[in-house]
């Protein structure tokens, strides 16, 4: 059988996939090929949810849940076909390939091995640039400009929603939090807007003194997997006691197309 898999009619696996997104895969081969058993193996964090078109006895084997499905040829319901549904259940730090190995066994010998490789993708947002790097209020300079983050999505997965969060605040005489405010957008950057009412995230600082916050962005992909960017340190230098509101603005570059095809449940 090991002759460049010429006996194989079709080999397919869904790719790319997001973490926890359904993976479908199948092999079709010449039914005349001789073997006794098929073993499907998955790697860590990849789970075989179901083997398609096989006798239900397969699922009583606990090995399936441990990443190994053993299918005797007699339990195949369709000659020349094996398929499975799987998931990659972890949220990886980086995009990566995940391999399912299908072995065809005759007697004690592995007569052929097929690798089914899928790419697990994810969004990966970086804070490219922050301007300004600190929030400073003095009696001479009370006007606060927006904190503008230039973000970049370097992953192949699309970001579906994103918002800032504060992780650590240091400064004993200060209270810092993030809130969302409804405001009317009077700028004319664009011709058409969905609504003049917009929601702006702002950092609210109460107190005065010198301090520091670390701020990051949490974001989700289309499977609602959650991610966080690395944190950015922002120095606070508030020389007079007042409530300071600092708007947060962000722009996103990289793999973030404006138009997307989204599946709808029918």
């Amino acid at each position: 059988m090991k002759d460049n898999h010429s006996w194989l009619v079709e080999k397919y696996i869904s790719s790319p996939v997001l973490p926890k997104e359904r993976i479908l895969s199948w092999l079709k081969w010449d039914p005349k090929v001789e073997f006794d058993t098929i073993i499907i193996k998955s790697e860590a964090d990849a789970f075989i949810q179901r083997v398609l078109n096989v006798d239900e006895k397969i699922f009583k084997e606990q090995d399936v849940q441990k990443g190994k499905a053993i299918i005797n040829k007699d339990l195949l319901q369709i000659p020349g076909f094996i398929g499975f549904e799987a998931y990659y259940n972890a949220v990886p730090d980086d995009e990566r390939q995940v391999t399912f190995v299908v072995e065809f066994i005759r007697g004690n010998e592995t007569v052929d091995t097929i690798d089914l490789v899928t790419e697990v993708i994810r969004p990966k947002v970086f804070i490219k640039h922050l301007s300004p790097a600190e929030i400073s209020v003095t009696p001479e300079k009370r006007q606060i400009e927006s904190l503008t983050f230039a973000l970049e999505n370097r992953g192949k997965g699309r970001v579906v929603s994103i918002g800032p969060f504060i992780d650590i605040v240091q400064g004993k005489d200060m209270q810092v939090e993030i809130k969302n405010f409804k405001e009317i957008d009077t700028s004319e950057r664009f011709l058409f807007v969905p609504s003049s009412t917009i929601y702006i995230s702002k950092i609210i600082i109460k107190g005065m003194g010198y301090g520091m916050i670390t701020l990051g962005f949490e974001y989700e992909d289309a499977m609602h997997n959650k991610y966080e960017t690395k944190l950015k340190e922002i120095v606070l230098d508030i020389k007079q006691k007042e409530n300071v509101e600092v708007p947060i603005a962000s722009t996103m570059e990289g793999n973030q197309p404006a138009l997307v095809l989204e599946p709808r449940v029918v």
Binding site: N53, F81, G83, F190, P194, R264
Partner: protein, 324 residues
């Protein structure tokens, strides 16, 4: 042979079907599942033999089914005809249907029909539990954008629980496996298509209309009316041209529903209605012997943008003379 697709669906008629199968009087059997509608249509080719052979053949075999017509429940439609003489079994009152109950009078059939083969098609409700088991589908959650040329999304479909159907039928097809996608048209994709001089005129008109300028009001009405053509048949035909699904022999785009969105002219807060989204419905057909299929939906962004550009071009032409 599994009886799941018979007993769970044909109910009381199962003993008849089993008898016909066991005595090899059913010479061909097929089933088509209309997945979207949760319906299944059976086709049975039944060899009833020549008139002279029936007394010692089929009549003996079906003795217990000849006392009264056999009933079928949950029937949506039942049809039958003889081959080669094309007798219409409904017209001959051999098969009847009332509400969701159908009957076949086999005694009358064997007395009346001259043909030696009878084809029966019975369309009935397909239980939801079986329907869910039958088709496993995966639609990509992260469509791929290709350099401003096209967007792609993939679909994978497989039939499962083959013990229900693979060995039972000579032919098995699942039709009308429906998928739907939505394209949200964000405003920043429309704006670059509007020439800068037209943008200025739109903003000026929105400001002028607040002080009662009639020409400005006319301009904005023409603009809105043209954007509304996005929902009309002519534009829908153009939009369909921007979508392709492969492989074509198994997939088709069945409909597109364009929708509008309410928004405002920024800074002036003048309401406008713009193209908002496009819902696309695809249908897939899967032959049983095929078992599994991978498909790709592609939206050609150049053709799609052309539809929006045509609308904008019409706005320019129709408002060219208007001064305000």
């Amino acid at each position: 042979m599994s009886a799941d697709l018979f007993s769970d669906v044909l109910g009381g008629a199962v003993p008849l079907i089993q008898t016909l199968l066991n005595s090899k009087l059913i010479v061909a059997k097929g089933a088509t599942v209309y997945h979207k509608y949760s319906e299944i249509e059976y086709r049975f080719d039944i060899k009833i033999g020549s008139e002279s052979s029936r007394a010692d053949g089929i009549i003996r075999t079906l003795q217990s089914f000849l006392q009264k017509p056999v009933e079928f429940d949950n029937v949506i439609e039942i049809l039958g005809y003889g081959l080669p003489h094309n007798e219409n079994l409904k017209e001959l009152d051999i098969i009847t249907i009332k509400d969701d109950k159908a009957t076949i009078d086999f005694a009358k059939l064997l007395r009346t029909v001259k043909s030696d083969l009878v084809v029966l098609t019975i369309r009935t409700i397909f239980p939801e539990e079986l329907r869910r088991k039958l088709v496993t589908a995966r639609i990509s959650q992260n469509s791929t954008y290709h350099n401003g040329d096209y967007i792609e999304a993939s679909l994978d479909i497989s039939l499962d629980y083959a013990d229900m159907w693979y060995k039972t039928f000579d032919s098995f097809t699942v039709r009308e496996i429906e998928f739907s996608f939505n394209l949200n048209i964000v405003l920043k994709t429309i704006e670059p298509l509007i020439p800068s001089d037209l943008k200025k005129r739109i903003r000026s008109a929105a400001k002028a209309v607040t002080s009662g300028n009639q020409k400005a009001a006319e301009f904005l009405k023409i603009m809105n009316d043209n954007f509304l053509t996005f929902e009309q048949e002519e534009r829908v035909s153009e939009l369909i041209q921007s979508i392709s699904v492969e492989p074509k022999q198994y997939f088709e785009v069945t409909s597109i529903i364009p929708r509008m969105q309410s928004c405002e002219i920024a800074g002036v807060r003048y309401p406008v209605i713009l193209p908002g989204s496009m819902n696309m419905f695809l249908s897939c057909r899967l032959e049983g012997r095929q078992v599994a299929l991978h498909g790709t939906l592609r939206l050609d962004l150049h053709k799609f943008n052309n539809v929006l550009s045509h609308i904008i071009s019409d706005i320019q032409k129709q408002t060219h003379e208007l001064k305000f």
